[in-house]
């Protein structure tokens, strides 16, 4: 921050060579400027600019914050307090000639990708990308097998991708995890590398992981009985027929983020005794204590389900790992639901992370979730 204040002071001097000062500043600065517990966002592209706004998804802050102009220039900046281990995804809204357009931060090469494109990333001073998320050439890699099945529930073929761990032996059986939004978890959360590394390091048990994706995703995942029946009565038997799945609910897990978490929990409630391991990331567990919700008709079945779940929690023979970003609007719902899980599930664990509703947050929680629900033989290895 001090460097920016020095720049502003120099720019405000009479006869200052402002463009040269800005050129020198951007040449040797990493953006955003991050210090101990705050970040400074900065925009300057050398052309006339009327205004710049920070667009982000941090619940609790105004979602659109105007950057301040450095006097006499078209450069803008915005200081923001940030917890040390936080990670923020953002875009700039840049207004030129009366028109605003959204853009990634042109001076920040760090990007996070999702089905809608990419966002710029601002990691706070103590955030470190977990090394187990990156491809590691020393890790033995599992294979991905493509498959499909005809679903009577949906009246069409549904494809899936099955991760088979390295060294899977004939005659041996393995736990199964079914992942909602599977294709996105593979693409945007690097889940294949994560599995390879964690299994290779004995932290996670060799595991079969079926990656599935919805077609009308939001409709199917919103506490939909068809999806729950598809998982328990169509996909699971199909996978058990084709892959060496260990029998027993404790070896059968469901995982999902956002609406995928709702679908996972709903499926476990609808088909008790089938799913003994649940990973619920940033669950869209909206509920009402009184009055109507304001999230739109898509959420109606979810609110009905969660209201009923909170009023009469069923006994869940399951171990539940739950996580949510503290920057998400969903944090309130998730915090409220955790004590209910503690009462009705065999075991429940909840992690809050200073991050948002995004794939990297969901990726970064995988080690904790998978090692807790499907612990590998690390405990047993003394090399």
């Amino acid at each position: 921050m001090q460097r920016l204040l020095d720049l502003i002071a120099q720019i405000e001097r009479p006869r200052a060579h402002r463009k040269a000062l800005l050129d020198a500043f951007v040449a040797d600065t990493i953006f955003p400027l991050v210090t101990d517990d705050h970040a400074v966002f900065f925009f300057w592209d050398g052309t006339a600019t009327e205004a710049v706004f920070l667009q982000h998804w941090v619940f609790g802050l105004p979602s659109r914050i105007e950057l301040r102009r450095i006097p006499h220039t078209d450069a803008f900046y915005l200081p923001l307090d940030l917890p040390k281990t936080a990670r923020v995804e953002y875009k700039f809204e840049i207004v030129k000639a009366g028109k605003g357009r959204w853009s990634a931060d042109p001076r920040n090469p760090r990007r996070a990708y999702d089905p809608f494109g990419s966002n710029s990333v601002c990691p706070a001073s103590s955030y470190e990308e977990p090394e187990w998320t990156r491809p590691d050439t020393s890790s033995r890699c599992g294979t991905i097998v493509d498959g499909e099945l005809h679903s009577a529930q949906f009246g069409e073929y549904r494809p899936y991708q099955m991760y088979v761990p390295y060294g899977a032996r004939p005659g041996k059986r393995y736990p199964l995890l079914i992942v909602h939004d599977g294709s996105d978890f593979l693409h945007f959360a690097q889940m294949r590398s994560c599995l390879d590394n964690l299994i290779h390091r004995h932290e996670v048990a060799p595991l079969l992981v079926a990656f599935t994706s919805g077609v009308q995703r939001n409709f199917e995942y919103a506490a939909n009985p068809k999806q729950a029946a598809f998982l328990a009565t169509e996909l699971l038997p199909h996978l058990r027929e084709r892959f060496p799945v260990l029998p027993g609910a404790e070896f059968q897990g469901l995982m999902g983020a956002s609406f995928g978490a709702v679908s996972s929990l709903y499926a476990a409630v609808q088909h008790p005794g089938v799913w003994g391991r649940l990973i619920l990331e940033s669950g869209s567990f909206a509920f009402t204590d009184i009055g109507e919700h304001e999230r739109g008709p898509l959420w109606d079945p979810i609110v009905t389900f969660v209201n009923e779940f909170r009023a009469n929690p069923p006994k869940l023979d399951a171990q539940i790992y739950q996580s949510c970003g503290t920057f998400e609007s969903l944090i309130y719902y998730n915090r409220s639901l955790f004590p209910v899980f503690q009462r009705c599930a065999d075991q429940a664990r909840f992690t809050e992370a200073p991050d948002g509703h995004n794939w990297i947050n969901w990726r970064d929680r995988l080690r904790e979730a998978l090692t807790w629900l499907f612990p590998g033989p690390l405990w047993m290895y003394y090399e």
């Binding site: 090692t371 033989p377 405990w379 003394y382």
Partner: protein
């Protein structure tokens, strides 16, 4: 018979220099069953040693039996499943009891407090109960199934003994302690252990003690709950080895160390690092490569 215990042999091993110093020049029998499906990948050891290395292939032998002696292995698996069920109960007890001991110590950091001592006695009783249940299951299997009378098992055991007879020393490598222990006991390696110089490291070193403790403070979801796996061969008494203790234990957490070492007392708790060497009970390794953890939670370097 001489017994040499080593710390972890990775990344750099001391075994070649120790064997040379001991004048062991003949063939070496190797047990690497703890490496599981990598059992046969002993090329690094072969390259490091001038000795001929004869791998006893215990993991591979057992896999053949799995395919060919399905009835026997089915009964063996049933025994292991029964042991797992006992362990589930043991773990439930430990989760609660360890929390109680840690809570009492946090409230009053005094390892001599009678309430803390009582909580430790409860833990020790649970450990003893689990280990006696494990022993009962193993003995019942031996008496009822008599695996040693199975011709195929007898043939494998005879081959192992014949292979050993021509070897100048036996080396037991580390790896998966559960697999290593179970294969060594299944093929009845116990009586052969004292017939020639014995070298063991990491899980191999643990195997020679009376009881095998599993521990790890740095799992993906935080500190694990230390628990006994089973009995070892008991060649080394009154010692619990903790290989890679610096990496696996939080040595800055004195309270946890107090609970751990108090629970294991009167046995000596010994951390083993790369470079540790005990030759017939005498420490001859690098100064910082082995240390004891005392019941007050303090850590002390091993001395020669």
């Amino acid at each position: 018979m001489s017994l040499t215990i080593l710390g972890p042999e990775r990344p750099d091993g001391v075994l070649p220099s120790v064997l040379a110093r001991h004048g062991v020049t003949g063939p070496i029998a190797l047990v690497s069953a703890g490496w599981r499906y990598d059992e046969a990948r002993d090329e690094l050891l072969r390259a490091a040693l001038p000795n001929e290395v004869r791998n006893l292939r215990l993991y591979d032998r057992f896999r053949h039996l799995e395919r060919e002696e399905t009835e026997l292995i089915g009964k063996y698996t049933a025994k292991q499943d029964a042991l797992r069920k006992v362990k589930d109960r043991y773990r439930l007890w430990l989760r609660t009891s360890l929390g109680m001991a840690a809570g009492l110590l946090a409230d009053k950091p005094d390892a001599d407090c009678p309430w803390f001592r009582q909580s430790i006695r409860h833990l020790q009783e649970a450990d003893e109960l689990f280990l006696s249940e494990a022993r009962r299951l193993h003995e019942a299997f031996e008496q009822e199934v008599r695996p040693g009378e199975n011709p195929r098992v007898r043939k494998e055991r005879d081959e192992i003994r014949a292979e050993l007879a021509g070897c100048a020393a036996l080396c037991i490598a580390g790896g998966h302690i559960g697999v290593l222990r179970n294969r060594c006991f299944f093929f009845d390696l116990g009586p052969t252990l004292t017939q020639r110089p014995l070298y063991a490291w990491s899980a191999g070193a643990m195997l020679l003690t009376e009881r095998l403790l599993l521990f790890h403070d740095h799992t993906g979801f935080g500190p694990g709950t230390a628990e006994f796996l089973d009995h070892g061969f008991g060649l080394l008494r009154n010692t619990v080895f903790l290989p890679h203790a610096r990496e696996r234990l939080d040595l800055t957490n004195g309270a946890n160390l107090t609970v751990l070492a108090s629970r294991l007392a009167p046995r000596k708790v010994m951390g083993l690092q790369n470079g540790a060497i005990f030759e017939d009970g005498r420490y001859t390794g690098a100064p910082d490569s082995a240390f004891t953890i005392r019941p007050d939670g303090s850590v002390h370097a091993a001395v020669a």
